[in-house]
Symmetry: none
Subunit: 190 residues, 4 copies
């Protein structure tokens, strides 16, 4: 009796991320995906019920993974500014390291494969690091903005920076990262 090969599942997911990165989520063709993985199209259906299940499963799995990764990043014992800027830099690094994953999530979110269930998981995922932002507000360090706007500023700048790095217009060394985190800080602090 053959056992399900977890390497195969891994390969399917990786290739899917690559395809979405190259051609968009609409570019996923089950047969092309199978060919890239080196299996028969029907074998895909051993691992995922159908195309929708493939996409949604990967999306949910990525959200879970990201949450697990990020939870470990805010344990420091320095000033609030240092903690906050470190967190933002971590986020930026993360976004660069997991570019394909982020790209998949972005495309998934505005695709027809993104439904009610996915939305719940998505909202969970956005709550990460809310605690730190909350602290910034309550201690009167931040402007009196709601968390969503605070998050928007951090995420918006990071998004664009990632875009610049991706297209080669910006080289992100440590000092640049630090400099950028200063910008975010200036934007939010009173």
């Amino acid at each position: 009796m053959k056992l399900k090969d977890s390497k195969k599942e891994r390969a399917i997911i990786d290739q899917t991320l690559d395809i979405v990165y190259e051609t968009g989520i609409a570019g996923i063709k089950m047969s092309a995906l199978a060919k890239r993985v080196g299996i028969s199209p029907s074998t895909l259906y051993v691992y995922f019920e159908n195309k929708e299940d493939l996409i949604v499963s990967i999306g949910l799995r990525l959200l879970k993974q990201i949450n697990e990764t990020q939870e470990t990043t805010d344990a420091r014992d320095t000033s609030f500014e240092q903690k906050f800027r470190a967190m933002w830099m971590d986020m930026l690094s993360f976004m660069l390291d997991y570019e394909k994953e982020r790209n998949f999530l972005d495309q998934w979110k505005q695709s027809p494969y993104f439904d009610k269930v996915s939305l719940d998981a998505w909202n969970d995922h956005k709550k990460v690091n809310t605690a730190l932002l909350q602290e910034g507000r309550e201690t009167g360090i931040f402007k009196s903005l709601n968390n969503e706007i605070i998050h928007a500023v951090g995420a918006g700048i990071a998004d664009q920076v990632v875009g610049l790095v991706k297209q080669g217009s910006l080289n992100l060394d440590e000092s640049t990262k630090s400099y950028l985190s200063g910008i975010v800080w200036d934007a939010l602090k009173k």
Copy 2:
């Protein structure tokens, strides 16, 4: 002999923007589009060579249109801060007013219909308002950042704000807009 009906062309474009807004760029189906416009599928091919031509033509036309619109926004005679913040608020308003157009451009950019030619036009389009940013740098008011980063800060925050407004989490009255432009200003000024 009848000429191409420019109202019909307008209707095709409008319906395309709507479809992309509702279902994504991959949701464009020539027959469905024709039905929405109230014409036959084959008539579409009188106005556009094929699907790719339809999408690319719309994309290029939007880019051109946007440039024309934005050029008129910076004629004021007040302080630099006021001019800059006004420009940013204009940009924000513009992004909200032309939501469907922006959405089309976003989706187009990361679709297989976005090619070399489109990229050149796209880069042109981003140069808008560079002059003002340049002024900010040269007079030593802004941090010593290159224009791309300055643009990234403004655009990133605006992007996220638009997202919040779209999903109903933020009500954008004049005072909020002004408040937000202050954040951007704080981020960039020395």
Copy 3:
């Protein structure tokens, strides 16, 4: 502008009846059907929405057709026995003449393509000739059976006779038909 070809639709239906007669309703393959008709598989979808629509449409159309045909068979001015036996013989002839149609309806009825809507149409169709049976009961000529049983006797015998003729065990000349109608009459009369 091409017009829908009603001969093509006719041909599709005829070939479908043939296929069902040869291989059963489960033997309908859209591509094989198209090949037999001499058109492309996709052209089938111009005339019918999908496989289910094809089958249900044919079924409903046959039911309607049969009702229209049968309504003209009972106008005679002879004794009740003669009228009844003539009606039964007509029914028998009809069943033999429209063998493929009957076969289609039989198979349709116990297929997954037979739904609520179909059932209503089906029940309408069975009401045919009820008037004559009713007369037989009310005048005290028939045994005191409900119409369903009376119908069952006539139809059951006719069914089996058709089976015998089809498999070549019985040659159905006029005298045999008359003889058989006598059996049915004997079964039902008091």
Copy 4:
């Protein structure tokens, strides 16, 4: 070494009959069948060579079984009418008791799985009770009909009655059964 498990074989056959009863012979899917039995799809192939073998084996086995069961039903010492009507009522009861089996045979007969070999076995099976019918003809009690027509009358009526009972239009108590057997008798007797 384990032997083939006859309980497992029994379960496979039972589930197959159920599936055919529920969804038609075209609804047999090897994997679904396996799941219902509680075994692996591949285990089915230990008991039957392939899908055709499964169906044909079940069909032939049922035919054999039915013959064995029916042979014991005509041992009575009463009048010929009573014997005949008793036989018919037994047949009717049998048809109701073994509804799933009969349904399987009906569907099998007009499926692509019904071949030459099956036809021979089928014809054997129809010879049952011929002796009794023969006696009816030879003693001049029956109309001078060949056995096939006599059988057709009995079977046709029984078939339809079973249909009525199945769809709930007829409640088959003892007196109704007797009444119906009278109809059959009237149809055949001189």
